[in-house]
């Protein structure tokens, strides 16, 4: 290291210290020194007896702690916890999800443990909207950054690039771009371009109610160029959106209840459509449906296959809250013909707990499935299904989803 480099580093250290310490102003700390404690006798010489007793008590306490440390582990230890086998070679280790809306949780899928929690650094709302994996340790995440000033201004989303360490902690997080609209999903094109889809509406509220029919827009998140857009009927609720890696195919699921204010399952109208830029500007409710279900769906990187969780058999539940047992299936569907090419997994569960989420790894080989706190993985090359350790339950139901029992995780999306 040359003297010039040392001088440069010294200046950089001083600058960093100045920046860090400037976060504490004189007004931030107590105005006066802490008050004196204890009696005059304590302050100016302890009593003789205390001088003798304190060291003896301290020594006994140390002995007690040492003895407890040696004995208690043997007394309290139950059977050793065993984690399932680590992933097959090549499967990503870390997933990022929004177990709570204000926090991204980084989860080690080998253990189910949260290794980092990430809050939006600059957002007045503190509300993450989307995440996508660029690589095993690199993610991009969208945050609702507020409005350009005043409630009548369009919403602004902020896109961050997050780098993890090999231990799952955050190495760096950098603001990549600001995008007009509510960034509901992102993907990374093969050339490295960030693409995203947004719901853009006039005078939209921060909640999910739109004053006017919004538009679904695919944008290049770096240049702001619009790739394609479609109007969405105001009655429709978008359930799931997925963009192929090339940005040429786009899957959307939507649903609505035919009766105003209804929640009856028999009253539920669902559909899944696969869109492409050539259908741009047509209402998504006017395009032919690939299926009549609106379960979560993800597109394969080349857009030829759609992985979707569907309910099998006729739904007879009276409400989406119903304690009604139903069979579900994870299916691989040909996006050109709508034919089911394979059923990758089947399971039965309660209808009111049906809230699964899917995520495909950047290579398109491994599919992650989460439902509540349960997590599993499918190797799409071998169709092998592997249950993974469950996510930790939230201690408090800060944002408990209506469909889930109190205290369970609330997941809208994830990436790995």
């Amino acid at each position: 290291v040359t003297p010039a480099e040392v001088s440069r580093i010294e200046a950089r250290v001083r600058g960093a210290y100045a920046e860090a310490t400037a976060t504490i102003a004189a007004d931030d700390i107590a105005a006066h020194a802490p008050a004196r404690k204890g009696s005059a006798a304590d302050r100016f010489g302890r009593k003789r007896i205390a001088r003798r007793v304190v060291p003896i008590v301290a020594a006994l306490a140390v002995l007690l702690v040492v003895a407890a440390a040696l004995v208690l582990p043997h007394v309290l230890a139950g059977p050793a916890k065993r984690h399932p086998a680590v992933h097959p070679s090549g499967a990503p280790v870390y997933m990022i999800t929004n177990v709570a809306p204000e926090v991204l949780s980084v989860v080690d899928t080998r253990t189910g443990q949260v290794t980092a929690r990430i809050r939006p650094p600059n957002s007045p709302f503190g509300f993450w909207l989307s995440v996508a994996a660029e690589g095993p340790l690199t993610f991009i995440a969208g945050d609702l950054g507020g409005r350009g000033g005043g409630s009548s201004q369009p919403e602004i989303s902020l896109l961050y690039r997050i780098q993890l360490t090999s231990r799952g902690t955050v190495s760096s997080m950098r603001l990549t771009s600001r995008i007009s609209g509510r960034l509901l999903g992102t993907t990374i094109a093969p050339g490295g371009t960030y693409l995203g889809y947004l719901l853009v509406g006039n005078r939209a509220s921060i909640g999910w109610n739109w004053a006017k029919s919004p538009r679904l827009v695919i944008k290049n998140l770096v240049t702001g160029t619009v790739v394609a857009d479609w109007p969405v009927a105001k009655k429709d609720v978008i359930g799931s959106l997925s963009l192929s890696h090339g940005g040429r195919e786009f899957a959307a699921t939507s649903y609505f209840y035919q009766a105003v204010g209804g929640q009856s399952v028999e009253d539920l109208s669902q559909r899944t459509v696969v869109l492409s830029p050539r259908t741009s500007d047509r209402g998504i409710d006017s395009l032919p449906a690939l299926s009549q279900q609106a379960g979560p769906a993800v597109l394969s990187p080349n857009g030829d296959a759609l992985y979707q969780i569907v309910a099998t058999g006729r739904l007879t539940a009276t409400s989406w809250h119903a304690d009604y047992r139903q069979w579900f299936a994870l299916e691989e569907i040909d996006t050109h013909t709508g034919a089911v090419m394979a059923t990758l997994h089947r399971w039965s569960g309660l209808w009111r707990q049906f809230s699964p989420v899917l995520a495909l790894d950047p290579t398109g080989r491994y599919l992650l499935i989460a439902n509540g706190t349960s997590v599993a993985m499918v190797d799409l090359r071998t169709d092998r299904y592997t249950a993974l350790p469950a996510l930790p339950r939230r201690a408090t139901g800060y944002f408990t989803r209506l469909l889930l029992p109190q205290g369970q995780a609330w997941i809208m999306w994830m990436a790995w």
Binding site: V1, G15, A16, Y17, A20, T23, I29, A40, I162, V170
Partner: protein, 206 residues
């Protein structure tokens, strides 16, 4: 400096701000305990109040660089001042009170790190350190990267850098505050700067 005026009239004090800057350690105070009368309670209260007024903020900021978050840094400095009350009757000279505080703050920060080793093993939410990517306190990315690189250095290197480049202490004063030799201070600082240069160069190249 308000304490300077009071010092000038006190027979045991140097009477200048510079005299307060001279470092001293509790060990020195203990060795001379029998030679000096303890401060009277009122004198002690005034000394502590003046030291807090003059150096409280700077010590909290220095502690921030070592522990990473403001509430903990403030707690460490508060405890150091409370400890100073107890040590007043053992100080050989009020001039050594500031040096005593520096040692107490460094030791307090070390205790915090020891306690955190256990605490951080649990997933409970804790205040993010000022240098972390999650912290919103640091606006400049360059400063955050530098602080993150410093945070990865060994404990003694971090202490030497903070005392040298934030508190602007001489190597002799740092040596007394950390209880090590001047040579060790110099070599530790040199190694730390070399490591930082290497790491930040790599970061910049990414």
């Amino acid at each position: 400096m308000t304490v300077g005026a009071a010092d000038a009239s006190h027979p045991r004090r140097g009477g200048t701000a510079a005299a307060h800057e001279s470092a001293g350690a509790p060990a020195d105070a203990a060795s001379a305990h029998r030679q000096v009368d303890p401060l009277l309670p009122d004198e002690g209260d005034r000394l502590v109040a003046d030291l807090y007024s003059d150096y409280g903020l700077r010590l909290v900021r220095a502690a921030l660089l070592l522990v990473g978050d403001k509430p903990t840094a403030e707690d460490v400095v508060q405890e150091a001042f409370i400890g100073l009350y107890r040590a007043l009757n053992r100080l050989t000279s009020p001039d050594k009170a500031l040096a005593y505080l520096r040692v107490s703050v460094v030791n307090g920060c070390r205790s915090v790190h020891r306690a955190r080793r256990l605490y951080l093993q649990r997933p409970a939410a804790v205040d993010q350190p000022v240098w972390s990517a999650e912290s919103a306190a640091i606006a400049k990315e360059d400063a955050r990267l530098t602080l993150q690189a410093i945070a990865r250095l060994p404990r003694r290197s971090r202490e030497v850098l903070a005392l040298r480049y934030y508190l602007d202490l001489s190597d002799a004063e740092i040596a007394k505050a950390l209880g090590i030799s001047r040579g060790t201070v110099s070599s530790t600082a040199s190694r730390a700067l070399t490591a930082l240069a290497r790491e930040l160069k790599e970061e910049d190249e990414l």
